[in-house]
């Protein structure tokens, strides 16, 4: 990886961290509020489905997670497992894609 791409990854990591700090806080407070009195799938979906605002919020949230988690794991793979080179980058990218895919699938299910 070049100096430039490593720097862009670092920037993306800090930016997504700032986003996540916000999203996670909002999410936790919302969930604690919404879960009062127990939850069932039908109850949840009655509130969430068709909500464009929350759809947008959680899309941003998913993207932030899909960026932050893989980039965060990247140095751990090298420093603690000795993993270097192309295969590491592919694994990290694949993890990001997996998170994005599963995440958007969840967002579509809950807010679609």
């Amino acid at each position: 990886m070049s100096a430039r791409s490593d720097t862009l990854l670092w920037i993306a990591q800090r930016a997504s961290a700032a986003l996540l700090a916000l999203c996670v806080t909002v999410h936790l407070f919302t969930i604690v509020y919404a879960v009062r009195g127990g939850l069932s799938a039908a109850e949840i979906f009655a509130r969430t489905r068709g909500s464009a605002g929350w759809f947008a919020f959680y899309t941003v949230f998913v993207i932030a997670v899909a960026v932050h988690a893989p980039i965060g794991l990247r140095p751990v793979l090298t420093e603690w497992l000795g993993w270097r080179g192309r295969t590491r980058e592919w694994f990290v990218a694949a993890f990001g894609v997996l998170l994005a895919w599963l995440g958007m699938r969840a967002v579509l299910t809950v807010f679609g």
């Binding site: 990886m1 070049s2 100096a3 430039r4 490593d6 720097t7 862009l8 990854l9 670092w10 920037i11 140095p75 090298t78 420093e79 603690w80």
Partner: protein
């Protein structure tokens, strides 16, 4: 008079600890202890020192697990229960006994482009650098480094990633990036960015805690992170 039980690393990478008993005095430094061993008990012991007064950094070694200057470490400060364990500096190959091979340390200095590159000629006037300017303050905070290797030995990332340039090399690079007279800033930033450079610093601050000159390589590296970010966003990298 009490005695110190001193375990000293002998041999190369596959060496072992050897025990010596050394008389304990008040106002005794660890360097005094090592010197006593070599002069009175075992002349085959190899170790480094030069100034003996905390200026050159040659005597750096691992004392009870912590990298220190032995000439500036009083025995009373570190000898718990009258025991000392002395090993060569961590993260560097051992030449013999307490002597570490500093070549990779200085090689990384080179790789980080740790040498000044000016653009002025003899025909130009003196450069004017305001000593109170923020850039000069930043550079001044790091220029007292004497390359002793204590920070490098203290750094966990160096242990985990042999490619990592390390706190000293990056600190030096920062003092040059912050130097307004230096003309090769972009090349320098390219050399120090990335997984083996400033971005690998995880702010453990071991370097800052252990630096005998009270420098903060972590702060210098943070400066580099900001400078590299700015350069990347401006398309200069």
């Amino acid at each position: 008079m009490t005695a110190l039980q001193v375990s000293v690393w002998r041999g190369g990478a596959n060496g072992r600890l050897q025990r010596y008993e050394v008389p304990r005095y008040s106002s005794q430094t660890v360097l005094d202890v090592v010197t006593h061993i070599q002069r009175r008990l075992d002349p085959s012991l190899a170790y480094r020192y030069a100034c003996r007064v905390g200026m050159c950094g040659s005597c750096a070694m691992t004392v009870n697990g912590v990298p220190r200057w032995t000439c500036r470490t009083h025995v009373d400060k570190v000898a718990n229960d009258g025991r000392l364990e002395l090993r060569p500096l961590r993260n560097l190959p051992v030449i013999r006994d307490l002597v570490a091979d500093m070549r990779s340390f200085f090689d990384k200095w080179e790789r980080a482009k740790g040498h000044f590159a000016g653009a002025a000629t003899k025909a130009d006037d003196f450069a004017r650098v305001a000593p109170d300017s923020p850039a000069r303050h930043a550079a001044d905070a790091g220029i007292e480094c004497i390359g002793c290797g204590v920070c490098y030995a203290a750094c966990d990332v160096v242990s985990w990633n042999p490619d990592y340039l390390g706190p000293a090399a990056l600190n030096r690079a920062w003092t040059l990036v912050a130097d307004v007279r230096d003309a090769k800033t972009v090349e320098r930033l390219r050399a120090i960015a990335g997984d083996a450079g400033c971005h690998a610093c995880h702010t453990h601050l071991s370097c800052t805690e252990r630096c005998p000159k009270h420098l903060s390589p972590t702060a210098s590296i943070a400066g580099l992170k900001r400078a590299v970010t700015k350069a990347a966003l401006e398309g200069k990298l």
